[in-house]
C-alpha cells in the first residue's frame, strides 16, 4: 500500500507537475502569513484565491487555468528577500504584494532584476514609486495623498482658520507639513502649527494655546492614543472646536480613551473599511467572500491585493500576453477607470494609483465610525 502511494506521489511529480505548469498561468502572491501582520496576510491569500477561483470558473485566462503561487514574507524584509527569490524563479507572470512598505522595498530590486511585474497592496511609503522601477505598481494610495484629501475636506467645510498639530514622528510630521504646503496656496490661514510630545497624559497646555488662537478646525496628524486624550481634555475644558485626524486614528481604542461623549463628531481620514465599499463589484465580492470564509475581510489593505489580482488578470486578457513589458505598458497607458473593488483604478507613469482612495469618517454618538458621503 505504502509503495503504491509513494509511486503515485512520484508519478505526480514526474508527469503531472510539468504538464500542469505548462497549462496554467502562474501568478505570485507574496504576503505575511506569519509574524505580527499574519491576519492581513491570511486575508490577502483568501481574497486572491477566491478571485482566482472565480476567474477559473469562467474559463481562466487566455484559455488557461490560473494558479496562485503563495510565498510567506513573514512581515520581515529578510524573509521577503528570500520569498521574492523563490517566487521569481517559479515562472510567474507577476507578483501581488505585499503589505508593509519596508518589506516591499526589500523585494523590489529582486523582482526588478528578474523583470517580474509587482503590484503592491499595502505599501504607502512615498519613495517606493520614486525609484523609477518600470514594473512596480501599487493599488494603495501614497502617504502624500492623505494630505491632499485632508486639505480638500477642510476647505469644503469652509474652514478658514486652521490649526495643525503633529507629534514629531516621521509619519505625522510629514503629513502635517504636506498639509501646510498645500494650504499655502489656498484661501485659508494656518493659525497654529506645533507638535505635542506623544506618550504624555496632560495636553491641556497645548489645548489652552489652541483656544487662544481660535481656529475653525484642528488637524491632528498623530496617532489614536493622543487623539483620544486630546478629545477628552478638550471636552473637559469646554473647548468647542472640531478635530480632524489622519489615518492613524482608525482604531476603536480611540473611542475607549476619549469616551463616546468626547469622541462624537471627531472626523478622520482613512481608506474605506471593506464593508463601506460602495460599488456593485465590491458588494458581489464581499458576499462571495463572506459565503466562503464566514466573515468580512478585516481591512482595506487585503482587499487592495484583490484589486492587484484583478488589474493583472485584466491586463493579461487585454494584451493577450504574459510578457511583463506588454502588461506594464497596458497598465500605465491603456487601463482607464477600471472598476476595482475599492473604486476606479488608473495608474500613472510611476505605477501609483490615481484618484481618491481616502474617505472621511465621523464618530457617531455611539462611538461607531461612519463613512461620510
Amino acid at each position: 500500500m505504502k509503495k503504491i502511494v509513494l509511486m503515485l506521489i512520484a508519478a505526480t511529480f514526474l508527469f503531472a507537475g510539468p504538464a500542469v505548469s505548462a497549462e496554467t498561468i502562474k501568478i505570485g502572491l507574496m504576503c505575511p502569513l506569519t509574524g505580527s501582520w499574519a491576519s492581513e496576510g491570511k486575508d490577502m491569500r483568501q481574497i486572491v484565491e477566491l478571485l482566482a477561483g472565480q476567474v477559473n470558473e469562467q474559463g481562466g485566462l487566455l484559455g488557461k487555468e490560473v494558479e496562485i503561487v503563495v510565498a510567506d514574507d513573514g512581515g520581515d524584509p529578510r524573509t521577503a528577500a528570500l520569498a521574492a527569490q523563490r517566487l521569481a524563479s517559479r515562472g510567474i507572470v507577476g507578483v501581488i504584494g505585499t503589505y508593509g512598505s519596508s518589506v516591499t522595498e526589500a523585494s523590489q530590486n529582486i523582482y526588478a532584476a528578474t523583470n517580474t511585474l509587482q503590484i503592491a497592496n499595502g505599501s504607502t511609503s512615498v519613495r517606493l514609486t520614486e525609484k523609477g522601477l518600470p514594473y512596480f505598481f501599487r493599488t494603495c494610495p501614497r502617504d502624500d495623498e492623505q494630505g491632499r484629501v485632508a486639505v480638500k475636506s477642510m476647505l469644503e467645510k469652509g474652514y478658514k482658520r486652521i490649526a495643525i498639530l503633529h507629534d514629531s514622528t516621521t509619519y505625522a510630521k510629514g503629513l502635517a507639513e504636506e498639509a501646510r504646503g498645500l494650504l499655502a496656496d489656498e484661501a485659508a490661514e494656518i493659525v497654529f502649527f506645533d507638535a505635542l510630545t506623544p506618550g504624555e497624559q496632560d495636553y491641556t497646555t497645548i489645548l489652552t494655546q489652541i483656544r487662544r488662537d481660535n481656529p475653525d478646525v484642528v488637524f491632528f496628524t498623530g496617532y489614536y492614543p493622543e487623539a483620544g486624550m486630546l478629545l477628552r481634555q478638550k471636552m473637559e475644558m469646554g473647548l468647542d472646536v472640531p478635530f480632524i485626524g489622519g489615518d492613524a486614528n482608525n482604531n476603536p481604542d480611540l473611542v475607549k480613551i476619549a469616551g463616546t461623549r468626547a469622541a462624537e463628531g471627531f472626523r478622520f481620514l482613512s481608506p474605506p473599511v471593506p464593508q463601506d465599499l460602495p460599488s456593485p463589484v465590491a458588494q458581489d465580492f464581499l458576499a462571495a467572500y463572506i459565503e466562503k470564509y464566514g466573515q468580512a475581510p478585516g481591512s482595506i489593505w487585503a482587499v487592495l491585493a484583490g484589486d492587484g489580482f484583478r488589474v493583472l488578470a485584466k491586463a493579461i486578457e487585454e494584451t493577450n500576453s504574459t510578457e511583463t513589458e506588454a502588461i506594464a505598458d497596458y497598465l500605465k497607458n491603456e487601463l482607464q477607470a477600471f472598476p476595482g473593488l475599492t473604486g476606479m483604478i488608473d495608474f500613472d507613469q510611476k505605477g501609483d494609483r490615481i484618484g481618491d482612495v481616502y474617505r472621511v469618517y465621523e464618530v457617531d454618538a455611539d462611538g461607531n465610525f461612519i463613512l461620510q458621503k
Binding site: S168, D194, A195, L196, T197, G199, E200, Q201, D202, T204, T205, I206, T208, Q209, R212, P225, G228, M229, R232, Q233, E236, M237, G238, D253, K256, I257, G259
Partner: protein
C-alpha cells in the same frame, strides 16, 4: 492674563503629580544614596492596581463615589508600598555593601522587569478607567474656568506632601529616618533599627507613587504600561531641581517643573517643552549645584 492664569493652573496640576512621585525618589535617595529607577514603574503599577480594584470590588457602588475613591487610594498605597518593600528585599538589600553603581544597575533591571510584567499581565494596548466617576464641575475664579479636578489633584498632593513633611519632622520615627539619612552608622549606635527605617522608606515612597498613579488614572482616564518612564524621568528631574534628598525640595521642584513646562510650552514652543525644562534644570544646577533647597552636595551616583 487669562492665558497666563490658565497655563499656571495647568502647570500646577501636572506639577503636583510630579512632586508626589519625586518624593519617592528623594526619600530613598536621602537614606540610601540610591536612585530608585524602578520608581516610575511602581507609579504605573499603582495606576493598574487601581483599575483592577475599581473594576473588581465595585467600591464606588458600596460606599459612594468619594468614599470609594478614598478607600481605593488607600488600598493602592498599601499594596504598592508592599511591592516597594519586596523590591528592596529582592533587588537592593543583597547589594547594600556593594559599590553604589551595582545597585543603580539593579534598579534599572527592576524597572525593565516591572514594565514588562505589567505588559504581560495587562496587555500592551492602553487601558481605560471607567468614566463618569469624578465630578466635572468647573469653578470660576475671577471669571476664569478652573476644573474642580485640578483643584482636587493639587489639594490631594499637597495634603499628602504636608502630611509626610510633618511625619518626618515631628514624630520619633521621622526623626529616626532623618538620623539614618545623615549617618547610618551613627544612627545604629544610637539604637535606631536602620533596617526598619529603610523598610519604612521603601514603603512610604512607593505608596506615594502608587497614589499618584491612581490619581493619573482617575483624572486622565487612559493608562499604559510605558507611562512610568516619562513620569519617572520628570519626577527625577523635579527631585534634582529641588535638591535631591530634601523633602520640601521635591515638592517645590515638582510644582516648579510643572509650571516651567507649561509656561515654556505656552510662550516659547510646544515641541521644545522638554528641552526648555531641562535647560532650566541645567541653569539652576550651575547656579546652585545642590538644587534649590539642597543643603549638602549631592554625591555622585
Amino acid at each position: 492674563m487669562e492665558q497666563f492664569f490658565t497655563q499656571l493652573t495647568n502647570g500646577l496640576a501636572v506639577g503636583g503629580i510630579y512632586a508626589l512621585i519625586a518624593l519617592g525618589y528623594t526619600m530613598v535617595y536621602g537614606v540610601l544614596k540610591l536612585i530608585n529607577f524602578a520608581h516610575g514603574d511602581l507609579f504605573t503599577i499603582g495606576a493598574y492596581l487601581g483599575l483592577t480594584l475599581l473594576a473588581s470590588l465595585g467600591l464606588t457602588g458600596n460606599v459612594g463615589t468619594a468614599g470609594g475613591i478614598f478607600f481605593l487610594v488607600l488600598m493602592v498605597m498599601g499594596l504598592v508600598g508592599v511591592i516597594g518593600i519586596l523590591l528592596d528585599r529582592a533587588a537592593y538589600k543583597p547589594l547594600r555593601t556593594s559599590p553604589r553603581l551595582s545597585a543603580v544597575v539593579s534598579a534599572l533591571g527592576a524597572s525593565i522587569v516591572f514594565s514588562n510584567t505589567i505588559m504581560l499581565v495587562y496587555g500592551p494596548s492602553p487601558r481605560v478607567y471607567p468614566q463618569g466617576l469624578l465630578p466635572t464641575h468647573v469653578f470660576y475664579v475671577f471669571g476664569l474656568p478652573v476644573p474642580i479636578m485640578r483643584i482636587i489633584i493639587l489639594a490631594t498632593s499637597l495634603v499628602l506632601m504636608i502630611g509626610l513633611y510633618l511625619f518626618i519632622q515631628k514624630t520619633r520615627t521621622g526623626t529616626a529616618i532623618r538620623a539614618a539619612a545623615i549617618d547610618q552608622g551613627a544612627a545604629r549606635l544610637m539604637g535606631i533599627n536602620v533596617d526598619r527605617v529603610i523598610m519604612l522608606v521603601f514603603f512610604i515612597g512607593p505608596a506615594l507613587g502608587g497614589a499618584a498613579g491612581v490619581m493619573v488614572g482617575l483624572h486622565y482616564g487612559q493608562i499604559n504600561f510605558t507611562m512610568g518612564w516619562i513620569y519617572g524621568l520628570k519626577a527625577f528631574t523635579a527631585a534634582i531641581l529641588g535638591g535631591i534628598g530634601n523633602i520640601p525640595g521635591a515638592m517645590v521642584g515638582g510644582l516648579l517643573l510643572g509650571v516651567i513646562e507649561s509656561m515654556g510650552a505656552a510662550y516659547i514652543s510646544n515641541a521644545w517643552k522638554d528641552a526648555i525644562a531641562f535647560f532650566v534644570l541645567i541653569l539652576i544646577l550651575i547656579i546652585r549645584p545642590t538644587g534649590l533647597l539642597g543643603e549638602r552636595v549631592a554625591e555622585k551616583i
